[in-house]
Amino acid sequence: MKTLYRQFTVATLFILAISILIGFTIANIFYLTVTKEETIEQNVAIAEEIIQTVQNIPYSAESFTSYMQAVAELGYQIALVDSSSEMQFFGEPFDDTTLPEQAKRVVAENETYTGLDNFTGEIFMIGHFTNKLHNTVGVPFERDGERYGLFIRPDTKLVSTDIHSVLIGFVAAIALVSIVGMIFMARQLTRPIVQLTEATKHIARENYSFPLDIRRNDEIGQLSESFNLMQTQLQHNDLARKSFISNVSHDFQSPLMNIQGYADLLKSPALSDEDRFAYTSIIDQEAKRLSSLTRQLLILTSLDQGAYPMKVKDFQLDEQLKEVIRKYRWRLEEEDIHLSYQLSPTRFRGDAELLDNVWDNLLTNAIKYNKPGGSIEISLQANDSDVLLTFKDTGQGIPEEAIPQLFDRFFRVDAARKKDSTGLGLSIVHQIVTLHHGTIRVNSTLGSESEFVLTFPHPDLKQS
């Protein structure tokens, strides 16, 4: 694995190398344009000063030599050339003592030689440091009627050792500090990442309480914050899922057990007709409950898949409601419930199949929780902005404390009254209504009536 550490270190070294290269180039350009000229002028001035001293004070040959030696010891390499090209050296010896043609003109033509000018061929300012005779400045002078050329250059060995070590130390310090700093930075950056990786592994194992101790004000801090948020949400979802599954399996198990149990009882040959009838009707009821449970679960899971593909179309809402009422006429007849409705013709836009479930649930609830001889009133009104529906029944009513939970999954007002309820119907209703940007409200008086009021924004059908 390419660790972040290594990548950081490599990147640091690379950046260091690049910056040295760039620094060198810039220094070089600076040297070539500014420093070089100055150095040459300086050297020429020094050479001329030496000559002046030599010419003003009449030295003997010995004292001339010792003077030259003294100058050389101050940090110069000196070559003295006479007209017959005889050379005399003071100070550090040159590596290469060949004298270029141009330099010979110092003695012959009385010109000043600036050797550094010729080093354009050499790589940059390294030329400045080559220990060769042609890398000097030459100045002509006369002594005792004899013409000489004085070639000098500062002894770089003497000067440079200090500068070099300072420079090397400087570069090394920069390199060291930046590498150490980078490693420290990398640590700081990778530590929370390693922690986050560890946390994701825990989540994969369904442990949602891994403590993340990352307090930072940067992007990583944000990441860990949203990670914590996700963790809480996942934990919540996990709990919801688990309770959902346990509810579902319980709700599947109990009717299945009843069916099994009563089917077993039916096998017994000595059974009164009354008992036989009672057992079969239990089996019948439980089978119906299972069937509606599976149907509702199917709707719920398809609604849960985040973006449920709504098959939105325009349709006649009042017709759909009449259709649902028509479907349950036999039950109204059977349970002696009186139904009346007032449906103003309304064109609506939505998922007709989903909405069909809403009306179906609300109407069957109104029948189920009604009393014999009771009544149901359904109304549909539309104005410019809203579509308003009410389902009102003269039934058992809903206790006030149960209303907030009414739309929760698997919530039953009367826990004992499980026979014909899955506890999913109203949660489906709520979800579908919300999906259509509508709201649902319940008004109820315990023991006498309940009213479900649904409000949908009126679709602007003119656009279509």
């Binding site: 009422i325 036999w330 109204l332 007032q342 449906l343």
Partner: protein, 223 residues
Amino acid sequence: MKVLVVDDDSYIQQLVAIHLGKASYTVFKADDAEQALRLLEDQHVDLAIVDVMMPGMDGFELTRILTQDLGIPVILLTAKSQLEDKEKGFLSGTEDYIVKPFEPKELLFRVAVVLRRSERAVQEHLQAGNLSINRRNFELAIGNETVILPLKEFEILSLLVSRANLATPRGLLMDYVWGEDHEGSEMTLNTHINRIRDRLKRYGATVEIHTLRGIGYKLEALK
């Protein structure tokens, strides 16, 4: 009453047949359209229950033949996913349709409704005061409110409305609603009439049912 059940699913066919049989209908069964038509060559039926999805000739085609050529009312059985099929179904002239899965009781209710309708060739729409009766949908409208009455009450009221301002003898009402063999008693008729009166009053109907002592009832529009 004779009912023909046409469905290729033998379980559903049998289930429907058993329920109809228990409701004292005479049931004939057919697995597909061809078999049904062969059976009808020497057998008359009052109603056919036809599944939409069948191999060979489909339910729509069969319904067209039954209703247009043979004059037999049809109840179509259709799956939920074929909801748009209902328009197609009515185009081919079916009387009613029912969406699967259905309760056997729902089917029996529909069968009774369709048979009643085809049996009594009365006017489809009746009117008296602010009452408006649709005999096709078995709906009663009072003003702009629609009221679903139990079938028997609906029958009683529609007979009274069709004979508005005329005396309707008890015997005629009893025969009409319960049939010639008089299952119901005069007491139940009274109960039904009273319930109808309550409802008319509740929805502000502008008609009134008068009792004619010793004779029967008379429905009159209020002025």
